[in-house]
Symmetry: C2
């Protein structure tokens, strides 16, 4: 029966059949999956409707890797800068790197594939002026300019697959280091195709091939203390190879340099303004990955199995919101749910039949031990994910790790039973329909747009970063708010203008980053389009350092529209009065205490007298509103995620869109509660996002209200 | 007798002879001066050794001003930006300005002297596309680009002298608005010369002509609410005129544009990186002012009188630390003492016979009323000034305002009697010798160098600014520390290298400002010179955003030397460990509580592992030290003035110079006390900078110590 069974995947564990079957029944699991070190038993296979088996494409066969070490995957790294104290400088190129992960590739001529760069001047050092000693791993630069700094861009082989390395080191495994091989090379390519077929032959009971993931891991580099040195969950660092660079030249018509990958040591992080070379490289690799992935998926389909991709790990080039993704033909996506944002990153993926979320906590000893209550993490995870699920549901959920550990916590088993039932109940009520959204779209504007849907201000999977959380909070709030959210880029605006169905544009980020937009704000086409959009009645919300690019006397280029400007250090002579404070405003109505702006941009001031200051702290503007023609803008100094800030954003969006009167269409008065209405299905649900009992009044579009009380984390369904 | 009389100037006041003579005796005044609305009586003149009379050159004769309104002083202003919402845009050019201060100059063709600028593109609008309506004060731009922003650079006449306007409005005077006339124009020039002679003829009793000041006031613009709109104490805004621009072209060989003065609305604030045009303009005007000033001073000398210049007000072009100042031939400088920095700004002025400080508070009703105790301000002012006086004494001191008000506070009269005695006692002991300084110089490095000695991070006279105090504190601390301080520029380094007598270079400021240095940090000559200097044993202290210029993967260009870097938003993928914390260090030895970094730059992290972190807050490095060759560097996130931070800086300087062993040459253990030794004169003094009794131990260079206790604000002289 739908309400008690289905939509749930459990990890298998050997020798635990009886206990697992009990959990399968209680959680209503209809699928089981193997994971590292576990296998699905025959008894369990019979009980489950589906069996998932994980599959790695580019690691796992050490014999092949060793026999073909010239087809190992590569990475470009930049050596630590060394300052020349004489006219000879010696650069230990691997200093600070982990020698078990990376080794210089000398099979390909360093003089061709490496670059020694004078970082004081930016000049490339002529190859005649340096030589590399393989034994000492030192590049010696002669005729160096004294007191200049030098780096070497080094092409390296990857000796250890980053995910395997991470798991190995984190869990103190005693396994052989798995080496990743590169399917760009024809021999590896045909090998992985054949190996897949062989594997499929050997796994007749597998229903779903859970691909973890395709070919190239995100950029993950360890240091010589075996700790993380560089991580970019969206990175393409591991996709490089001499062959790929050569093929790129054939396809795109120009040659890439090592510096196109090294990028002064910033490695094309998504926070950087993307260079054309990097955009071309992404396109080139994404196309390649999609074509080879499609070939693999077709084979899986030919075996009558489903292909499910893990959203993460070896996903470089898969770009689920990119233009080639649909070609792959995947059946499903599964991803780890860290919060509302990562839930939406999964559930919004197009061109798949279904999506699945893997919830926290993993059944690992770091959480499941007698010092800890795993229910807390499960509840926190569920509360943040649930808001997002209501807006855009995943179709399935699951857990990972060792079920034997979870079984030691019977109350945890109980709680997950409730959660899985709640999840099924949702699907039972909504019947595939969509939740009510406001009558206007919200567009997040940055340099990446659609390709980075739900991925802005994000370094690594749902990890808190000090410089991010005050922006990431916008996404987390939006993940569960009743708005259709679209990610648009400056190029979209330049090419296509601003779509009529957009009600409010949000631009958020630190100056100079891709999220804020840097030099795009000097582009008259961009600024004119946005001014025109707002003047005609649109809304604009700027957070942090929006529209920031110092030019012609303005740091916030759209200061006319925002009504605020930032003091960057050389306009102190200009008096700032910040004296049009407004203490009552639609946006602030549900705020009862001090507002948390997170890291909070400083030194923002009112421009002249045409904006309203809603919040001023330490003489800095924290919230300001402005009228611009028929449209409106809101400035916010930062917006970490919290129920208070979620409501603040919700009100700011309705106000900016000049649609305050629509706020109370499916609205709860208590900010710790939210509601989602499925008009087509005839149901709505009210949820309590807090651990305390909450009483709330629900406003319906017809003006009627109901009052109700929900227990801690509670929910209640109603017919419309 | 020297200890009881001399070195003090009192303001005169009519009808108060008896009382004033009593104060003259008690304070030991040997000079009296008139001030606005007061005259010196004959009785008083006999009592005083010297009579000062104030003199204004370019205001005060309204008849002349009215008859020669085409020779009034000018100012370039930028209109508020207006966004074009159609292809016609109307710009009310005086919107937001004070119509009693400035009026557009239409005697000179606006099409020649004004510029309409598209601030979206930076393009100058062709003159055919705009016209000005004098009646409405509106510039109308045709064929405007819709959604672009436009401004007008307007040449205006000054209808009201800024200082007179300020005093008039602040004190609610009911006087005619004094108009400033421009001696660049020959008629005005010969008029002011003749008027000076006439005035000198009429003032035979005057001994000292107190010039307030010469010809052009610093930039001070009021808004339409009669409040300050723009203030730059060091500004040249009021020096402009069509004639000067024409003469500039003859002298310098190129023509200036209005935009050279308007500077995108930043008006060449000293916080801006100075443009070559502005530097040339300063040179041109400073030369002109010095030549005309010399002519006036020569006349004063011919009358057998002294010429004393007030340091401030109409001082644009006098540049006391500039290359033409010595030519003027002034006898003395007098200035308002706001703190230690402004004291040093006065006492360090070269090429004068003596310097005088005017102390706070002014005897004005805002301080001298029954709600207030004026002694507090007097004590605070004296304590901050005293430290600086000990290092580099002014020769005279004085007060300003209405003595009748001061007389209502007998305890204030008592306290000033003590202060004046203390001041004379100092001179009695030191006999013109200099205080002991450390055996190395401290150089403040910025884009201005010597010309802005004690003037960096300073907007208006000793006024606190949020973006400044964390840097200004360095100067305030140094003003009373035992170091010879030199202000050097990047051009100095480029032209002459780094002088051997410099022990430590300090670079402090926000990125992009003239104080930090902006693009100079991309200059290999600059960075090489500093690296070489430190590597050979020199010291470098960076505060805030030192050496900041984003280039080739570095924001702090000297991160190798500083051992720290700042995260500016796109290197988040790089892990920062900040894990080499050192909790005991020479620099920190006298710190007992949390250190106040003021506004404190955020997001600074350790580069690799070669620096020591002395202080980490909220994961940001606040203090770090580093070894670079034989030299050392210290990074500080900010340094507001306080006794604790003064000691921190003192220790940081000795440590950076690798001269820790010299710290205790004339040193007090208690941070609320300091000592100054006059070895040549055979005396040293110990002072208590606090309001509490303090016990301290004094370390002498020979290793001996004495312990003593000083009362609140106390001091004690000892023979060496």
């Amino acid at each position: 029966m739908e309400m008690k069974k289905g939509r749930v995947t459990l990890p298998a564990e050997e020798g635990m059949d009886k206990e697992i079957i009990d959990v399968v029944d209680r959680w209503g699991a209809d699928a089981v999956r193997d994971s590292d070190g576990t296998k699905v038993s025959d008894a369990l296979k019979i009980r489950a409707d589906k069996v998932y088996s994980k599959y790695f494409f580019t690691r796992g066969d050490q014999e092949f890797a060793k026999a073909n070490s010239d087809e190992l995957q590569h990475m470009y790294i930049m050596s630590k800068p060394v300052t020349a104290t004489t006219d000879t400088v010696e650069i230990p190129i691997m200093d600070g790197y982990f020698d078990q992960q990376l080794i210089p590739d000398t099979d390909h001529d360093p003089k061709k594939w490496w670059e020694v760069i004078n970082r004081t001047t930016g000049e490339v050092v002529p190859t005649e002026q340096w030589r590399y000693s393989e034994s000492s791993q030192i590049v010696q630069v002669n005729q160096a300019k004294q007191w200049h700094r030098y780096t070497v861009n080094v092409l390296t082989y990857q000796l250890w697959d980053p995910v395997h390395m991470y798991n190995h080191i984190t869990n103190n495994w005693d396994t052989e280091h798995q080496m990743p091989y590169d399917p760009r090379y024809p021999k590896t390519r045909s090998y992985i195709i054949e190996r897949l077929k062989k594997w499929l032959d050997e796994h007749p009971d597998t229903d779903v091939v859970r691909i973890t993931t395709f070919f190239y891991n995100f950029t993950l580099i360890f240091n010589d203390a075996r700790k993380e040195k560089y991580v970019d969950w969206f990175g393409y660092g591991a996709t490089v190879s001499p062959l790929a660079i050569e093929q790129f030249e054939q396809e795109k018509g120009y040659q890439l340099r090592s510096e196109d990958f090294v990028d002064q040591g910033y490695y094309n992080s998504p926070f950087r303004m993307p260079s054309q070379a990097f955009l071309d490289w992404m396109d080139f690799q994404t196309k390649f990955v999609s074509e080879l992935a499609k070939e693999c998926v077709d084979i899986i389909h030919n075996y009558g199995k489903e292909a499910m991709m893990f959203l993460g790990d070896h996903w470089a080039g898969t770009e689920p919101y990119g233009k080639y993704f649909k070609n792959i033909g995947l059946d499903a996506i599964v991803g780890s749910v860290g919060d509302g944002v990562t839930l939406r990153m999964i559930s919004d993926v197009p061109h798949v039949k279904y999506t699945e979320g893997r919830f926290l906590p993993y059944f690992f000893p770091d959480t499941f031990n007698d010092q800890n209550d795993p229910i807390e993490e499960a509840n926190q995870n569920w509360l943040q994910a649930r808001r997002a699920i209501l807006r855009k549901p995943i179709q399935r959920m699951g857990y990972g790790g060792y079920i034997s550990l979870a079984l030691k916590f019977p109350t945890f088993i109980d709680r997950v039973e409730e959660i899985t039932n709640e999840f099924r109940e949702l699907h039972h009520h909504i019947k595939g329909t969509s939740a009510y959204v406001a009558p206007f779209k919200v567009a997040i504007l940055n340099s990446w747009g659609k390709q980075r849907t739900w991925m802005s201000h994000h370094v690594h999977h749902a990890i808190w970063y000090k410089q991010c959380y005050s922006y990431y909070g916008i996404l987390e709030a939006l993940s569960g708010l009743p708005f259709e959210v679209e990610f648009i880029s400056f190029e979209d605006i330049k090419n296509d203008g601003i779509s009529d169905d957009i009600g409010v544009i949000i631009n958020a980020g630190d100056a100079g980053t891709s999220w804020s937009g840097d030099y795009y704000w000097k582009d008259e086409v961009v600024t004119s389009a946005i001014r025109s959009f707002v003047y005609r009645g649109g809304g604009f919300i700027g957070v942090g350092e929006p529209t920031a690019y110092e030019y012609q006397g303005s740091f916030f280029q759209l200061s006319d529209l925002l009504g605020v400007q930032k003091e960057v250090g050389y306009s102190l002579s200009m008096d700032k009065y910040n004296d049009t404070l407004v203490d009552q405003h639609f946006i602030l109505e549900d705020q009862t205490g001090p507002i948390d702006y997170g890291e909070s941009v400083r030194y923002v001031y009112q421009v002249d007298d045409h904006s309203d200051i809603l919040s001023l702290e330490d003489d800095d503007v924290k919230i300001a509103t402005n009228q611009f023609g028929k449209g409106r803008s809101v400035y916010l100094a930062g917006l970490p995620y919290s129920p208070e800030n979620t409501r603040l954003l919700q009100r700011a969006l309705y106000w900016a869109a000049s649609q305050e009167n629509r706020l109370t269409d499916w609205y709860t008065t208590n900010i710790y509660t939210e509601c989602a209405a499925y008009v087509e299905a005839g149901y709505y649900v009210v949820i309590n996002n807090s651990y305390e009992r909450q009483t709330t009044t629900v406003y319906k579009p017809d003006g009627t209200t109901i009052e109700l009380t929900l227990e801690s984390m509670g929910y209640k369904w109603f017919e419309i």
